[in-house]
Every structure is written in structure tokens, then in C-alpha cells.
Amino acid sequence: MLNRDGQSRSTFWATVLPPTLWVAVFFLVPLGIVWLYSFGQNEGLTGISLTGTFANYVRAFDPLYLQIFAKSIFVAGLTTLLCLIIGFPVALAIVFADEKSRTWLLMLVMLPFWTNLLIRTYALIAVLRTEGFANFTLEWLWNNASGVMTFAGLAPLGDFQPLQLLYNNFAVVVGLVYVHLPFMVLPLYAALDRLDKSLMEASLDLGAGHLRTLFSIVVPLAMPGIVSGVIITFVPALGAYLTPDLLGGPDSQMIANVIERQFKRANDWPFGAALSFLLMYATFIAIAMRSYLTRGKAVDAHGI
């Protein structure tokens, strides 16, 4: 045990032990047990015997579960793409805002992020349900359009049929984008903020258009930030539980919902444990990809 500043041994232990023990006992041990359970099988009603079987992992590759995995990855990917498209101009606007409005814009982006996830999801339910605000607005537009058409001597449009906006995959993607947008905007902002604006001016001066400048100057230079934002958005979206549970229909289950069912209702802990660890490995792969893709690329506009 080296300690640099010649401090006493007791100081060292008093500093190191409490956090280390906590994370070991109340985090690593629980995860370790789940890991062990993933190689076990149910015995009787409550018992689990650790037989070292790989059956749970084999079962996870059943087409039914593979399809849910594929769907979760697709939904999380679509969410990430939409967040990138929606969030990029917002990050750009924050970078180009003056000092004072920048603080305000950043706060406006972060405030929903701090608001309770359940409350935000609930707010979306009120908007999307059949008698919600979205359908209410559509009905109003429909009736007015209908009125205009009667006025113009055409046949009216007929009765308004409310759209089914809730309890389907559409609602899940809207909900995930709504929740994860700040995850994308903040890293994008951090990367764009360090970008040397004179490079953009030079590009514009030399005759490139705004779009060309964006795609040939801004995007390549901000690539580490884009990669970070993509991963930081993708990872929690992949493991989302609440959004598909509350906004989705019977066919919009994601992997987290299947895990929850194994532990709470189906009472098949070993299989749930195997699924949890597959989700965790997928997460780690995504994070490793991020460090691989951004490696050596210090976010520095001058280091071209």
C-alpha cells in the first residue's frame, strides 16, 4: 500500500474502505448472484439450483426472444436517429446563442431531464390518448375543414374518427424521443462548443453553402461528440422499461419488459437473469464501441 503524502495508514483505510465495501456488498454481490442464477434452473416453487447449465441462454435465442431483442435494438436505434435529427440543430443554436440566452437554452433543455420520468410519461399519455389533446386538436381542425368544405359547396368530411395514438409502437418511439432528447443535445453541445468557428467562416467565404459547410466541416469535426451522443442515447433507450410498459401495446414490448415479467409474474428467475446479462453485455459492447470510435480523437478543432 503506497501512499504518497506520508499520511497515516488509518486515514488510508478510513477513506478507501467505506465506498469500496458499499459497492462490493450492495452492488457487485447482487449482480454476481444474478449472474450465477443465469446458469441455474428452477427447483420446486422457490428454489433455484445452480447447475451450471447454459439452457437459459439457449432459450434466449429462441426466435420469440430474438425477435424482441431485434425489435428493442430497432426501436432504440430509431429513437437515437430521431434524437440526432431533432437535437443537432438545437445544439447548434445553443452554441451560436449569446452568453445570456445560452444559459437559458441549456436550462430549457435540461429542465425536462430533471423532471420525474413517470410524470413526463404520464403527461404524454394525456396528450396521446383517444380523448387527449392531440386528438382534440385534430378534431377541431377536421371540423373546421369540414365547415369550410360545406361553405365551398362540397360534401362535408363526415364524422371525425379519433386516431389511435396510444398503446402502439408509435407511442413508444414518441415517448422515448421525448425522454431521451436531452441525452443527445448535451454531448452534441459540448462537442460543437469547442469547434473553431473561423473554420466555418472560412468554408463559407470560400464559397461552400451552409449545408455543405455543415456536412463537410461541422459534422466531421463534431464526430466524437456525435458518437458520444448516439451511444449515450442508445444505451438507456435499449434498456427502457417504463415507456414501453405505459405507452406501448401488447406488441411493443421491449427487452426490459420481458425481464420484468420473468422476475415478477412468470417467476422464472434463471431465465430473467440470463436475459438481464445479455442486455448488460449489449450495453457494455455499445460503451466499448464509444471509447473505440472516439479513441485518440481529442475533441479539438485544431487537431485536423
Partner: protein
């Protein structure tokens, strides 16, 4: 057309303004509607029928919901106290000492930040079901212990992250000077290092308070019938219907969050101007 925006003044162009307006409408309209309709004098419809405080009165008479609210605040408070101490210790440990397995411990401390919530939730469920069953006949607030332990496990690594960033700007010579002048380990820590860490400790405390107050998934797996938190209670209400009472409760929580965030911003401003 007095003056056209300069080439890089994107924020003065109309497509950018339209885009920003659209995004912020998307982010805020649902929340504002939710808050506004907590004052609506009608039980079911989304049509405005006049202003009322009825739903708030009903909310304060709803003992279950108020108890869940009190549970959430208590859990967040105790979680924050423990997390700040553990988080600060971990940050000092990683910053000051070199020892074997340091890399492993550093990795273990980063893990709760990246592990999906659902995985941590089921891990806690298994842990409290099989390894350390939490007695369910304890008196309040000890009955909340299992949830508090689970919350500390995912909150304190965030505190560590914030405090570590702050420690990077500490000038070690200050501490050496204090020790040359005769201060003990503890005195040097209390009078020199701690004041430097203070803004980060406050930011970390507010962060862990919000994280704890916010958490649904992990709590869902650790709470029992007698230890329901606000998000868990709202979840069971939302499953059945949309009621103005939930709107009122949500509004209270949103206001609390905004106040906490304003405090954090003020604190940050103070600490940057103090420098």
C-alpha cells in the same frame, strides 16, 4: 428588412427559430398542459371548465398518496446524506492514493452509472429476497432501509464523478502547507480540502436528491406493500386512469424539481464568481 443576419448568426434565421420553437413546444406543452389541468374544475374532460383548488384539497386528504410522497422525500434525504459522504470519500480515494486494485475499484464505481436500470433493479430484488431479507415489521423510517440502500448504490457514484472533477483543480501545495504548519490529517482535510470541495458536494447532494426522488424502476423492484414511494404510487394510479389528482401531485413534484434546480444554478453561479 433592416439588416440581414450575418452568415453565422443561425439563430436569427427563421428556419432555426421555427425548429427551436417546435422542439421546445414538444418538450414543454405536455408538461404545461398537465400542470394547467391540475387546476381544472372538471373530473374527466380535457376542456377547461374553470379554476379550482379542489384536486389539491383531495390530494392532501389522500393519505396513501401523501404517505408515498413523505416516503419519497425521506428516502431522498437519507440517500443524499449517505451518498455525499461515500461519494466524497471515493473521490478523495481515487484522487489521492495509489494502491493495488485501484483500477478495479475505479471500474466498479463507474459500473452503477452504466448498468441498465432494469438489471440493477432485478439484482436488488434478488439480493433483498435471498441474501439479506429486509424485515418488514420495522418502524418507519427503518422500514425504508432496503430502498435507501438500493438508492445509495446508484447515487453515490454520481457524487464521486462530480467531486472528482472539482478535486482536479485543487492545488496540493495548499494541503502540504497546512501539514507543514502542524495540521493533522483530519485538520488538513477539514480546513483545507473540504472548503475546496464544498461547491461539488452541494451539486452532488442536489444531484443525488433528484436521482433518488426520480427513480421508479429500481424502487419498483425493492418496495414492498408498506413501503410505497411517490413514483410507484403514481404508476399504480396511472395504469388505471388519468385523474386530476395525479396532475396535482405531479405539479407539486415538478415545482419542487424546478426549485431544486434553481438552487443548483444559483450555487454554481456563486462558486464561479467566487473564483
Amino acid at each position: 428588412m433592416a439588416d440581414r443576419p450575418a452568415p453565422l448568426e443561425y439563430n436569427r434565421t427563421w428556419p432555426m427559430r421555427l425548429w427551436l420553437g417546435g422542439v421546445f413546444f414538444f418538450l414543454y406543452a405536455p408538461l404545461i398542459a398537465l400542470m394547467a389541468f391540475s387546476f381544472n374544475d372538471s373530473k374527466r374532460t380535457i376542456v377547461w371548465r374553470g379554476f379550482t383548488f379542489d384536486h389539491y384539497k383531495k390530494l392532501f386528504n389522500n393519505n396513501e398518496l401523501m404517505l408515498a410522497f413523505a416516503n419519497s422525500l425521506t428516502i431522498a434525504f437519507i440517500t443524499t446524506l449517505i451518498s455525499v459522504v461515500l461519494g466524497a470519500l471515493a473521490a478523495v480515494m481515487l484522487w489521492r492514493f495509489r494502491f493495488r486494485f485501484k483500477g478495479a475499484i475505479e471500474g466498479a464505481l463507474a459500473l452503477p452509472i452504466v448498468v441498465p436500470e432494469i438489471c440493477m433493479g432485478v439484482a436488488m430484488l434478488v439480493f433483498f429476497a435471498r441474501v439479506m431479507p429486509w424485515p418488514n415489521d420495522l418502524i418507519w423510517p427503518f422500514s425504508l432501509g432496503a430502498i435507501i440502500i438500493a438508492h445509495v448504490s446508484f447515487c453515490f457514484p454520481f457524487v464521486t464523478m462530480v467531486v472528482r472533477a472539482r478535486l482536479a483543480s485543487f492545488n496540493k501545495e495548499q494541503e502540504e502547507a497546512a501539514r507543514d504548519l502542524g495540521a493533522s490529517d483530519w485538520e488538513a482535510f477539514r480546513d483545507v480540502l473540504l472548503p475546496h470541495m464544498k461547491p461539488a458536494l452541494i451539486a452532488g447532494a442536489l444531484l443525488s436528491f433528484t436521482l433518488s426522488l426520480d427513480d421508479f424502476v429500481i424502487t419498483f423492484f425493492t418496495s414492498g406493500p408498506n413501503t410505497v414511494t411517490f413514483p410507484v404510487k403514481v404508476y399504480s394510479m396511472v395504469r388505471f386512469s388519468v385523474t386530476p389528482e395525479v396532475n396535482a401531485a405531479s405539479t407539486m413534484l415538478i415545482v419542487l424539481t424546478v426549485v431544486l434546480m434553481a438552487l443548483m444554478m444559483l450555487g454554481q453561479r456563486k462558486s464561479t464568481t467566487a473564483k
